[in-house]
Structures are given as C-alpha cells and as structure tokens.
C-alpha cells in the first residue's frame, strides 16, 4: 500500500478531509502569522479596552486594548509547536525503545519496560508540572514535559505490535534467508507497526495541544508576553465577570483543533487498514 | 420405507451488499432433506455452502437479504418468514448446529456440564438438577470417557476431539430433528476425525437424526453421506446419492474435484488432474455457466447460456449442457435432453 493510496483514501473521508485542511491551515498560520496579523498582538492601546467585535477589530480587544484576532493567530505557533514537538519526542525515543524491547526481549526488554513503568506510575499532569518545575518554566520545557509524558504509551504500543509481527511467518522467511535484526526491524517490523503508531500520534497531537493549554493556563507553560491559547484563556478567565466572551475564542480554537486531530486519527485508522472499505 | 420430508429449501437466493456491488452467495438453490438422512453439501470457499447453512439457521439475518420467492420449509413452517423469537425456538428444539472450531462456541468461563445443563433448562423447562443428570447421559452417549468427572472441566482442559464431542452433546440436548454440521472434523486429526464421523453415524442410526454435513472433504462425504449436493459459485451443480455421485459424476466440476485428491489406494499418479484456474470473483461471474472459465469441455454455448439443474437418466440431477459419460467423455446434450424429464 503506497503513501498515495492512503492519502487518497484519507481524502475520501469527509471529516478527515476537513480536519486535514484545518490542521494544514493552522500549520501555515503558525509560520506566517507574524506577517499577516492586522495589529501588533502585543501593542497595548488603553483607549480601546475591551471593545466588542467590529470591522476594525474582528474579534474585539482585550483588557489591555490588544487585538484578539491577532493574538489568536499568533497563538497557533505555540499550539502547533507544542503538538509537533510533543509527539516528536515519543516517536524518536519511545517507539525505538518499544521496537528494541519487543524484538530483542530479555534484559533490554526488562530495563526499558521498567523505565516505562516508572514513568507511567506518576499521574501525567503531575509529571508534566514536575518536569517544568525542575527545568524551569517556559513553553519549550512544557513541551519537553508533554513529550516525556507521552513516551511510555508509544513505547508500549510499539512493543506490543512488534511482539505480534516478530513471529509472523514472513519475518521467519526473512530470517531463513539470512536477514539480521536491523534488516528485519527496518523492512518488516516498522512498516507493519507504523499504522497504529501514526494513528496514535494524530490523536496525541490534539491531546498535546490541550495539555499545553492546560499548563499555560496554570502558569507553567508559555509566559507573557509569549502568546498561547492557554494563557489567553487564563487572562480572559480573570476578566470573566466583566467580559465572558473573551474566553470563547481561544477555547473554540482549542476545541476545533482537538476535534480535527481526533477526526484525522479516525480517518487514518480507516485509511491504513489493508481491508479498507469505503463507508 | 417411505421417506418423510423434513426440510425443504426452495429457490433460495441471497444477496449481500458489498462496497463494490451486490453479490449473490446463494443463487436459486433448491434441495430437501428427509428424516434421518445424512446429506452432504460439498463445495470450496466461495461456493455458498456456509451461507446456505446460515440461512437455514436464521443466523446473521441482518447481513443477508433474500429474494421474496425464497423459502425454507421445516415442519410446514417457512423459516424465512418466522420472527426472531419463533426462530429461536426452532433453533434450540429442532435444528442444532455444530461448528468447525468448538472453542468459539463454548463459553470458556463455565464448566461444560453446566453449559449443557443450562441449555437443557432453557429449552425443556426442567429443574437444573435433572438437567445435569441428562447432561451426564449425553456426555456418555457421545463417548466422553469418565464423563462424571468431566462435567466440571472447562473447555480449555479438553482436547479438540473432546470439545467437538461436547458440542455434539450440546446439540443433542434438545432432541433435534436436524443437525447442521459445518466442517465438524476439519480442525481435527485424522484418527480423531474417524471417531467423530463414527459418532455421527451412530447418532443417525440410533436416534434417527438427519444431518446436513457441510464439508470440502470428499473422503468424509464418501464415508458418511447418503446423498450429496455439490455447490459451485452459489449454485448446486450436481446432486445425487453418494453411490451415483462417486461412481458416475456427471458434472466436470465434480469429476475435477475427485481427480484433485491424491489417491491413497493404488499407484501414485505422476501428475494430479488439477482443475485449472481459480474460482471467479463473485462480482464478475461469467455470463453463462459459472464453471466455464475452468472447464476443459466448455463450448461457445456454455459461455453464453447458463444450464439449469435437471434430472439425468442416470439418476443424478446435474446442471451442465454436456453431462459427462462414464469414461469422462463429454456427453451430448441433444441426446441427453430427449431423455431428460
């Protein structure tokens, strides 16, 4: 099954298609936002505090007179960075750990899996708070923390899948022909365990954005003047008695992104299934 | 002895919608089973033999659609028109089914004695204690050694052959008139298969139970059945008594199947007479006879018109334009047709 077929199937699923487009737009925005924002998102204008939406300020202004639309656009950068970085860490550390664990077994398996067990034993949000606390509060450290929180589940998933594929007759056939561990992992195991991991990654992408927002909301992530949807909510939260709608925009942005990630994951799961049937 | 009709399948035609179009796993199939008779339904994968059995059992009803003319009469009731509740009654009390792998049909967390007894209680409204006694009798009847101790065993503690015996005991629990056995010995070793086939024979002789034996193994058919139905691509291509079918197969497919099995008795052939090609895709069945793509006797006529199942003078019913002569020569429809009635 080639990349092309999977992509074609994915695009045939309507929800996955829109989710994919939505996320792509976010990615592009996260790069070009500084060049297209109508106002400097940090510029305060105390003459225009908490304006309602208008032609000049599409989503209105906040308590310091900053343009909310511009801030929302700038916030995509933190969200996308958090999402991507937070799945890159488990993909680069957790998945190889899982594959080695599953394929080699024995001592390697014991050591890796005890580490994983250790991480899992700590509640995710506590762990993330702990890591950011230890590394210092910043958006980057929050992302590292999220990545570490996700690593165990990817390692376990990869290990379980590897155990299954390892004993397939096609792997045995390769062994008979003299294939070594490297060849088997690269040619047989990774292509066959990739689909569930890709699906997991797309679910986690949205979850990571959510965790980033939570950490920022708690003051452990992005720090002002850095803009993130999480700290936008936090600021809006303090104004909730005066201006409730300010909280709606970043909230909606988070919800839509999380949903898109989930729909994309569902679509990928269907598209990567060798027994794919168009619904 | 007059033969009493037990089950009559008439013009059974099923549809299953698939993403690429509708397929017809069973296409205008009619046959009957008499009381106390063992009828074998032979076919390879995709022949429609399993869908036929599921239709009789009323299983998987949501996925299968029937043509309105289809009917399955059992004791003067059309099973296809029954409501699920009525059908459930028939399933427990009159028709039972045994499967290829009994591990899937037995509940792994209950001892076998309890499972048999509970199914008796459900259908016969007797006390659990009495049901347990009946369960013990049944286990003895199907030849489980040390049955009393085995009552408390869990399915995983039994061997494949023993599990199949338990399944049969469970099928017998409600004195069925018909047992549908779907590849009952395929998963078993040959010495165990011989035991189970023996048991099925014994049940038919002693209890007069009719059996619809679904299998791909011609040896099992020759050993067990009274009458044989051969299916290919959703249609019955040949039907006859077991002697007629094996002695004088009329359809090229029937003969091809027999020639495909290596001979155990007598000298080894250098090459097997394999049927060439593969079963056609159910979405792209040939226009005329379904077997035309693999038949070495086929003519232009075969690829244009589909033959129907007709009675042949030799006794078999066969669906072929050119039923084979004794020596495997192609027959002549013209001569045969006049004597068809």
């Amino acid at each position: 099954m080639s990349f092309g077929t999977v992509f074609k199937r994915l695009m045939a699923e309507r929800l996955a298609f829109f989710s994919f487009i939505f996320l792509m737009v976010l990615v592009i925005l996260s790069i070009i936002a500084p060049f297209i924002v109508p106002y400097d998102p940090l510029k305060q204008d105390l003459m225009k505090v908490m304006l309602s939406p208008s032609a000049q300020h599409w989503l209105g202004t906040d308590e310091l007179g900053r343009d909310i639309f511009s801030r929302l656009l700038m916030g995509t950068k933190a969200a996308i960075q958090a999402g991507l970085f937070a799945i890159l860490i488990p993909l680069c550390i957790g998945v190889p750990m899982g594959i080695l664990s599953g394929y080699l077994g024995g001592v390697v398996d014991d050591i890796f899996m005890r580490i994983v067990d250790g991480i899992i034993a700590i509640p995710a949000i506590l762990l993330a708070l702990g890591i950011t606390g230890a590394l210092g509060i910043s958006l980057w450290n929050a992302m590292i923390a999220i990545g570490i929180v996700f690593t165990p589940q990817f390692a376990r998933l990869a290990r379980g899948q590897t155990l299954q594929v390892r004993s397939e007759p096609y792997v045995e056939a390769a062994k008979i022909s003299g294939a070594g561990a490297g060849w088997i992992m690269l040619k047989h195991i990774i292509p066959n365990i990739a689909p569930p991991i890709v699906v997991q990654a797309s679910f986690n992408l949205s979850f990571a954005i959510l965790v980033e927002a939570s950490l920022s909301f708690l003051g452990m992530g992005a720090q002002s003047p850095q803009i993130s949807w999480g700290n936008m909510i936090q600021q809006a939260y303090s104004m909730i008695n005066m201006n409730a709608w300010m909280i709606v925009y970043p909230g909606l942005a988070i919800i839509l992104t999380v949903l898109a990630g989930n729909f994309l994951g569902d679509g990928l799961r269907a598209a990567l299934d060798p027994k794919y049937k168009k619904a | 002895m007059k033969e009493e009709l037990l089950l009559e399948v008439k013009n059974l035609e099923t549809f299953i919608p698939t993403p690429k179009g509708q397929i017809k796993p069973v296409n205008d199939v009619s046959f009957s089973i008499n009381k106390g008779e063992i009828v074998a339904l032979v076919g390879e994968s995709g022949s429609g033999k399993s869908v036929t059995s599921l239709s009789i059992m009323g299983l998987n009803a949501s996925a299968i659609q029937y043509r309105p003319e289809s009917s399955i009469f059992f004791n003067d009731k059309d099973l296809l028109k029954l409501k699920e509740k009525e059908m459930r009654k028939i399933r427990g009390n009159n028709i039972a089914m045994i499967f290829q792998d009994p591990m899937f049909s037995l509940n792994p967390v209950h001892p076998i004695g309890r499972q048999i007894a509970e199914s008796i209680v459900l259908h016969k409204k007797v006390k659990y204690k009495d049901a347990l006694v009946t369960a013990l009798e049944l286990l003895n009847k199907v030849g489980i050694p040390d049955a009393k101790r085995r009552l408390n065993d869990y399915p995983h503690q039994l061997s494949g052959g023993m599990r199949q015996r338990v399944m049969i005991a469970m099928a017998l629990a409600c004195d069925p008139k018909l047992i549908i056995a779907d590849e009952p010995t395929t998963a078993l070793d040959v010495t165990i298969q011989a035991q189970i086939l023996n048991l099925l024979h014994k049940l038919q002789k002693e209890s007069g139970i009719a059996i619809l034996l679904i299998t791909h193994d011609l040896g099992v058919v020759a050993e067990t059945a009274d009458r044989v139905l051969v299916m290919y691509c959703g249609k019955i291509v040949e039907e006859g008594t077991v002697e007629d079918i094996f002695e004088n197969p009329l359809h090229p497919y029937t003969r091809g199947l027999m020639a495909s099995v290596p001979e155990l008795y007598g000298p080894t052939k250098e090459k097997l007479d394999a049927i060439p090609g593969v079963v056609p895709n159910p979405l792209e069945l040939p226009k005329g006879c379904n077997f035309v793509t693999r038949c070495s006797y086929a003519t232009e006529k075969c690829s244009q018109n589909a033959p129907t199942l007709l009675k042949h003078p030799s006794g078999n019913r066969v669906s072929c334009w050119y039923p084979l002569e004794k020596e495997g020569e192609r027959g002549h429809y013209e001569t045969a047709a006049t004597s068809f009635s």
Partner: protein, 327 residues
C-alpha cells in the same frame, strides 16, 4: 558407492521447558522432538506425517535454523549446521514454504520486493538483474511479471502460495522444507500446488522435506515417508512399502482412519483408535503409543522400542518387531 546425504539429522531433540519450580529451576519439559534421525539425499522428497503435536513442524524448523535443537546434531553436506559461521550460507541452500499463505507474505511489500528479498540479502546481481530474476520466478510459478508491482492482499490463497514458492526458489536452494504447504488451500487448488512442486523438483533437482498431516498429499509427493508420534519417528520406509505393508500399529491405524473415496468401502474393517493423543509434556512410559495401541502387550508399558530395520528399506519402532529382529 553410497551418496552423501544432503541433510542429515542425528538424534535431534527439542525440549521446551514449561513452568518453573522453586528458585526458577526449570523442572518440566515438553519433549516436542525426542531423538529424530533422518537422512535426506539430493533430489529426493522425504515426507513427514503425524498428527498435531507430534513434532513434525518443530523438526522442519530446526532444519532451516529457525530454532536450535537442544540435543543431537544436524548436518548439511557433512558439516554441522551450527558450524556454518555465516547464516547466509545456509539461507542460500535451505529454504522453507509456510502453511498460511496469508501471514507468510509481508502485506506492506510489493510482490517483486518479497521475491527479491533473499536476492538482496545475498547481494545477488544488480537491481535490474534481480528484477529480471523475479520475472522468471513469477513465470516459473505460473504468474506473470505484471503481478510484481501488486501487493499480496490482491491475491487468492493459491496464488499467494505460489508467491511463497517463488520466494523460496529465488536463491536456488538445495532443500526446501514444505511445512503443510497445501492444507490451508481449497481442494482444487491443492492439486495445482502439488503439481507445481513436483514440476519444480524435476526441473531443478532439489530435495523436499514435506511436512503434512494429510497423508494423501504426502503419498503423492514423497519418495520416503517417516511417520511421527509424540516426538519420535515410529516408522520410516519408502512410499510403496509404507502403503503396501505398514508395520507399526499406529501407521496401520492412521492409514485406516483416512476416509475412503469409494462409498462402497464404507463398511470395511477399520481400526478406530481409542482416546486422545497424550500430552507431549507428560508422555506415557515405555512405548508412547501403548495407551492407544490395539495390540499393546504388557512389556510395552515399560520398554521404549528402538527404531530398528524390519526390512531392507524399513525401520520400525515397535516391540512386536524388536523380538523378531532379535531372533
């Protein structure tokens, strides 16, 4: 002058530890294979029959090096298997065809990549030459070169088995272990595959170790047949002899249990064995068949018979014959 066997098994054993006693001591073993000796000569087919759990598949897996024996030695062309430093040398000569045509092909590789894999691993030829070789192989097993760009999922069971055969042939091995190669296939397809295997043998002169529980298929393809029961060979002889004159009571029962394709033979005298196969974790003392044997004697419960010559070509492990041989 006697030819050198291609592959020779000498008293090979495979004991799997099960459960562990106190302090992690392994105290019980499943004797999957328990002292099997067998010679396979160039160009011949040795059939290995027996019921599930008799150790026939494990024997085959040891021959291709998928698992190592816990006792005994396997020789390839006179040299111990484990002394071949590079596993690749063996891969070139010993190949395997698997039972399940669905799981034996990587669903994420194209057919051409699957068949070329052994060539790539052994660095045979350039990419272009390999592609040509793949085309030849596809044609050899009755498929066409355009099939190379497809994925296994697009093929039927019989076609997949052909692909598995093409892969096994890629390096022109001297022996192919066929582990139940037809038992997952439809009857009409089985015959096609058996014919193909025979043709290939005639063309290439290779040897087969043909493992199956279906005696008809084994009879069709084999020159010699070994019957296994609970990890041991209990009878080993050439094909004609085995069917004309089976000696071991188990062989007799096995042959008699095969359904006869003539309904008129239904009421023939048959040996129906009582009971089930004993567990290989706890095999009976003495002759392992004595619990089911219709002609068991008192001494069978304590004496384990040896595999001894009972005629010029035959070896049988049964006390009935041991005495005759001794006399």
């Amino acid at each position: 002058m006697k030819q050198q066997p291609l592959v020779s098994l000498k008293e090979i054993k495979k004991h799997f530890p099960v459960g562990s006693g106190l302090f992690g001591k392994k105290d019980q073993f499943v004797k999957a294979v328990d002292g099997v000796s067998l010679d396979i000569y160039p160009g011949e087919t040795v059939g290995l029959v027996g019921e599930s759990g008799c150790g026939k598949s494990t024997t085959g897996r040891m021959v291709v090096g998928l698992t190592n024996p816990t006792g005994g030695e396997i020789y390839f062309e006179g040299k111990k298997l484990r002394e071949y430093k590079a596993k690749k040398t063996l891969g070139k000569n010993l190949q395997m065809i698997f039972q399940d045509p669905y799981s034996s092909l990587n669903p994420r590789m194209t057919v051409a990549d699957i068949i070329a894999e052994p060539l790539v691993l052994h660095k045979v030829g350039t990419a272009k030459e390999r592609r040509k070789r793949v085309d030849e192989l596809l044609e050899r097993v009755g498929l066409a070169s355009y099939h190379g760009s497809r994925y296994p999922l697009e093929f039927s069971g019989g076609q997949r088995q052909r692909l598995g055969i093409a892969r096994a042939l890629a390096l022109q091995p001297k022996l192919i272990v066929c582990d139940e190669p037809v038992s997952a296939l439809d009857v009409s397809i089985q015959a096609q595959i058996l014919n193909l295997l025979k043709e290939i043998q005639e063309d290439m002169g290779l040897s087969y170790l043909f493992i199956a529980h279906g005696i008809q298929a084994v009879k069709h393809i084999s020159d010699k047949i070994a019957v296994m029961y609970l990890g041991k060979i209990i009878e080993y002889t050439n094909k004609e002899e085995l069917f004309a004159n089976p000696r071991h009571p188990y062989t007799k029962a096995l042959l008699s249990a095969v359904p006869h394709p003539n309904p008129k033979m239904r009421n023939r005298e048959r040996i129906i064995l009582k009971g089930d196969l004993p567990s290989p974790a706890n095999p009976p003392a003495g002759c392992s068949f004595h619990t089911r044997c219709p002609v068991a004697m008192e001494q069978c419960k304590s004496i384990d018979p040896n595999l001894l010559p009972t005629s010029e070509q035959s070896l049988t492990a049964c006390l009935l014959f041991e005495e005759k041989v001794a006399n």
